[in-house]
């Protein structure tokens, strides 16, 4: 006898509807599973058998064939355990086929019949061809966020059967309010003595400009990166669903009961492998950190310590805002719309407080800085150098002799700055591009026109070779964002351009050799 049950599997971050077909026929007792199952999927035979027996039902002493259609796609993971078990019970006549009409199943089975959660339930629920979905209790809330679907759960296989037969009732997930805010992010006002850096994170948040911070240890690079997330606007429902699907597919814990509201903040360690950053890894095609930071901030601390291969793979996704991963058995596209924030020390000893101050040799400094390739460096619209706050100032502030406010007047809270960022983003999005960083070169003349004064400032730098054509475009985009933050929508003023240039320091430049024009020589008399 034949039975058919709906389910879904995961390829990358996308769900794929699967029809589980079980045929039970006369012949030597046996069990075969076809339709490109991977190892975890093939092992479902033993889990399903034990679960059915320990739930007080019987295993058919006949020939059982399981087909996972469409059979051309490789299926991974254990989420098909429950649909296989249900289809088998129907095919064996222990359950009526009518009860699974328009019902899908996604769960792993324990040997005792317990239902267990699997990653990517949200993405699978999206793909499912059914109106009702049965999942394990721990995935119920996640499944419930999928629109147009009734998600229910039960603790064990025997409960599932009882509910299907109407002898018991499903557990409904607690309805949750997706707009409940998560814990407030760390406050920008905590950052002292870094006025330029505070402005840099504000501009980065408002314009979607990638940010590189170079500074000695203890300057507050990580602190600033964490605060940048709080400045980004909260996610819209569709964005939150995208983020949740990626996180679910990556097996990350979703925030309790609700869709993520805050943009994600991911800070992979510098020893991370290429695959862990961009995604992939076998047929499972797990999304990498780059995709986990989708719609949020990817923070790479100690940028110079990441392997060169990892850094250079970032270049293409940063441009395309998605990453295409191809493996022998599968190929997929992961979303990767991230705001990249990177931090590094100025040199191996980290104590570079200006030319002539550190112990590293010129060659060592040059090697260290050269680890960030030119093309990658080029992706950073904002490059700033951070200073370690003066110890004496901090001590004075702690002892109450001077306040932190006096040390750095004009500190603003995250809420104030975030409001300004939201306004600037609203203005920017009216121009037809998500952020100013995304304005294509061809539209710059229209969207970021330069005033005469601003043009002159840039012209001098172009003539001196301090600015490339590409650098010019980036300065214009940042200047546009600065003007947007100030509510100025006219031609870019000199102050906007100067502001953009101030946020584009020569942080990784190597000391100039005396070959060619000595910068000060022309002016020294």
């Amino acid at each position: 006898m034949l039975a058919k049950v709906s389910s879904a599997t995961l390829i990358g971050v996308e769900g794929q509807a699967i029809s589980v077909e079980v045929h039970v026929s006369k012949g030597l007792p046996g069990f075969s599973i076809v339709g490109l199952p991977d190892a975890a999927c093939r092992e479902s035979r033993d889990r399903v058998r034990a679960a059915i027996l320990s739930s007080g039902m019987s295993w058919p002493q006949r020939r059982v064939t399981v087909n996972l259609a469409p059979s051309g796609i490789r299926k991974g993971g254990s989420g098909l355990d429950l649909p296989v078990a249900i289809a088998l019970l129907i095919a064996d006549g222990q359950l009526s086929a009518a009860v699974v009409d328009n019902v899908g199943f996604i769960a792993e089975l324990g040997l005792d019949g317990t239902l267990r959660g699997v990653p990517g339930v949200l993405a699978r629920a999206h793909a499912l061809n059914a109106a009702q979905l049965v999942v394990s209790p721990d995935c119920a809330a996640e499944a419930a966020t999928a629109p147009g679907l009734r998600a229910v759960s039960a603790a064990s296989l025997s409960r599932v059967v009882a509910c299907l037969q109407g002898r018991s009732s499903w557990d409904e997930p607690k309805s949750s309010d997706a707009t409940v805010l998560m814990a407030a992010p760390p406050d920008l006002a905590d950052v002292r003595g870094q006025p330029l850096a505070r402005i840099a994170v504000e501009v980065a948040a408002a314009g979607g400009h990638h940010l590189l911070m170079v500074g000695p240890p203890g300057a507050g690079k990580t602190m600033l990166a964490e605060r940048l997330v709080g400045l980004l606007p909260v996610l819209t429902t569709s964005e939150a669903l995208e983020v949740a699907r990626v996180h679910s597919a990556a097996g990350l814990a979703l925030p309790s009961q609700v869709l993520p509201v805050r943009p994600p903040f991911r800070a992979p360690h510098h020893s991370s492998s290429l695959v862990s950053i961009v995604g992939g890894g076998g047929s499972a095609m797990r999304p990498g950190e780059l995709s986990c930071a989708h719609r949020g901030v990817l923070f790479l601390d100690e940028l110079g310590e990441f392997s060169g291969a990892v850094l250079d793979t970032l270049r293409q996704p940063l441009e395309e805002r998605q990453v295409r991963v191809s493996r022998a058995r599968a190929s997929t596209v992961f979303p990767a719309d991230v705001l990249l924030v990177a931090a590094m020390n100025p040199c191996p000893c980290g104590a570079d407080l200006g030319p002539g101050s550190c112990q590293c040799s010129a060659a060592a400094r040059q090697r260290y800085r050269a680890r960030v390739s030119g093309p990658l460096l080029d992706r950073f619209d904002l490059r700033i150098r951070l200073d370690r706050p003066e110890v004496a100032d901090l001590v004075r502030a702690i002892e109450g002799e001077g306040s932190l406010e006096a040390l750095d007047p004009g500190v603003e809270s995250t809420a104030t700055v975030a409001a300004r960022v939201a306004r600037a983003r609203a203005v920017a999005s009216q121009r037809g591009f998500a952020t100013n960083a995304a304005i294509p070169p061809g539209s710059l003349d229209l969207l970021a026109p330069l005033s005469q004064g601003a043009l002159r400032v840039l012209e001098v730098r172009l003539r001196q070779g301090l600015l490339s054509a590409r650098g010019l475009q980036r300065v214009r985009r940042v200047a546009r964002t600065i003007a947007d933050l100030e509510g100025w929508e006219g031609k870019l003023r000199p102050a906007d351009v100067y502001g953009a240039l101030a946020l584009r320091s020569n942080v990784l430049a190597v000391e100039k050799a005396f070959d060619g024009v000595q910068p000060s020589a022309a002016s020294l008399r």
Binding site: G193, Q194, P195, L196, A197, I199, V214, P346, L353, G354, P355, G356, S357, C358, Q359, C360, S361, A362, R383, I384, R385, L386, D387, D408, V457, I482, P494, A495, D496, Y498, G499, L501, A502, L503, S505, N506, V507, L508, A509, V510, E511, K512, A513, F514, D515, G516, Q518, P519, S520, A521, A522, S523, L524, R525
Partner: protein, 384 residues
Amino acid sequence: MTGCGEEGHAYVAALSALPGMGPANLASILRRRAPRAAWLAVQTGRLERPSGRAEGPGLGLEGDGGPHRGPGWRALAAKVDPPEWWRPIAARGIKVTWHGRPDFPEALQSDPSPPGSLFWRGRLEALRNPCVAVVGTRNATNCGIATAYELGRDLATAGVCVLSGLALGIDGAVHRGAVDAVKAGASAAPVAVVASGVDVVYPKRNERLWEEVAECGAVLSETVPGRPAQAWRFPSRNRIIAGLAGLVVVVESHARGGSLITAEAALARGVEVRAVPGAVRSAASEGTNQLLYEGAGPVRHATDVLDSLGIFDTARPQRPHGSGQLLLSSLGRTVLESMGWYPVTPNQVVLTGGVSPAEALQALDELEEKGVVVESAGFYTRVR
């Protein structure tokens, strides 16, 4: 010295290239034998490698197995014909002289540990002017670089032969200043004493400067052409700088550094050492400030050097320091007054100057244009 014509040079060069040949040994050999005779003595085994000493591969031949081992001089000399080996080197404009020859630099004839032979490109006549060594750290501040550049330029303009080591940082700036002065018409050309062979540019970044110094003045070295700069050659090179100079000026030096070795070598030869005072908190001035503390005279600008040398009759450079006479906008002046003399980032300018980032950069732009401030790797330093 016995006359030996052009051939003698090839034999001296070949003798210098023998592994384990030290300057004292070479000088003593050449005192006793004519170059060609000395080579014959090597070939016949009457002159052998001193035991326990080794240096380099020797004549560029394979098989020198390190100290105490490898082929002796006799075996090496059997394979080499010095005139033939030397001809292509000489064709590249590289010359050689040795201790005792009339063209050997006068100041080194009486040196306590003179080089046995000297190789050079350019014209050694540059050394006839009063010689002042201006040296300093490779890892210099912008202030130090600017000071070194000015010293090199102003001393060359005043007719002083500027000696330095063609390294990165201070040495390069000194030479650049002197070369620029020569280009502008100064008659006194600079001389560089380098650690590698005169045809092996080190550091590579100074290649153009190296050529320019060789063109107008001279690049000289104790090292046989073709040999790389090895760490141990630098202190030994520094003693030649000290030996050639009538005065040594250290512009910037960290607490330990090669320029302090030059200063020590100068003091051992009774050559006056002077130092450019630096900010007490600047790591790059720790060594020079220590020299000053120990009694070295200060140098503020080229005039101090000229006074010390007793040169009063040349055109004196104007004092370049001070920003009082500069026409600055009020924003520029505010920022300049807030920034002090240490390297600062735009962030510090914003913080201490109480200006916006855009204003800070506008002011720094103006100051840079007027030559008051120099930018390097994201830091701005006031240089006058």
